[in-house]
């Protein structure tokens, strides 16, 4: 069986990111590679590309990485971070259009079964009203 897809959580708030990661670990388990980042270096709210790149590295899996974001900049900075990845990795990282907390838990549950990146993203996005 190939490696489980990794999950990255990108929030404006370090507390939200840390708390969401903690929910994933406690509810789903530790078999899913997990990375998270949130807040600016001064302790305020914010997201930045460098921290997102580090979180992607922390959660890296050959099967890919699904990113869950909260608002605006979290998404645009995540997309920027993906563009900065080496070409071979770029194709294997996606931003999910899903609520950050619920999406992370659902995506991780799917990932824990060895599901593909596409299946992991679809599971998270099932939560999004159309």
């Amino acid at each position: 069986m190939s490696a489980n897809v990794g999950i990255v959580i990108v929030s404006h708030s370090a507390d939200v990111a840390r708390g969401t990661a903690s929910m994933v670990e406690q509810m789903v388990g530790r078999e899913v590679p997990l990375g998270w980042c949130g807040g600016d270096p001064d302790g305020g709210l914010g997201t930045n590309v460098e921290a997102i790149l580090k979180a992607i590295e922390a959660a890296w899996s050959e099967s890919g990485v699904a990113i869950l974001v909260d608002l605006g900049g979290a998404e645009t900075n995540s997309e920027m971070a993906i563009e900065m990845l080496p070409a071979a990795r770029r194709e294997r990282v996606v931003v999910c259009n899903a609520p950050i907390v619920e999406g992370a838990v659902m995506a991780a549950t799917e990932a824990a079964s060895g599901a593909t990146l596409d299946a992991v993203r679809r599971t998270a996005e099932e939560l999004t009203p159309r």
Binding site: V105, T109, S113, T123
Partner: protein, 94 residues
């Protein structure tokens, strides 16, 4: 060899089929090859027991009966494992 197996079990878990029980149930179901459905009545409607979003959306409350039906080579083992999980109040699930 394709087998069809059905079973039902009383859900006694204090909060019903909420987040953590749903995750345990789904993770267990995913470990089997068989197609596995879950319903809240003997004749459905059925949802895919391997879909965390659909399982959680059933919002099965405490003291309701959960029905499983499975189809596939390991259907017997799958249904037995799921019933055991629910009977054991979800303590055995990983």
């Amino acid at each position: 060899m394709t087998k069809r197996v059905r079973a039902s079990v009383l859900l006694r878990h204090a909060v019903g089929l909420h987040a953590r029980p749903s995750i345990k149930l789904t993770k267990l179901a995913k470990g089997f090859e068989s197609r596995i459905d879950l319903g809240l009545s003997a004749d459905g409607p059925w949802v895919d027991a391997k879909s965390i979003v659909k399982v959680m959306a059933t919002k099965a409350p405490k003291d309701c009966v959960i029905y499983f039906r499975a189809e596939g080579a390991d259907a017997d083992a799958a249904v037995q494992a799921l019933v055991t999980l629910v009977e054991g109040d979800f303590q055995d699930g990983r």
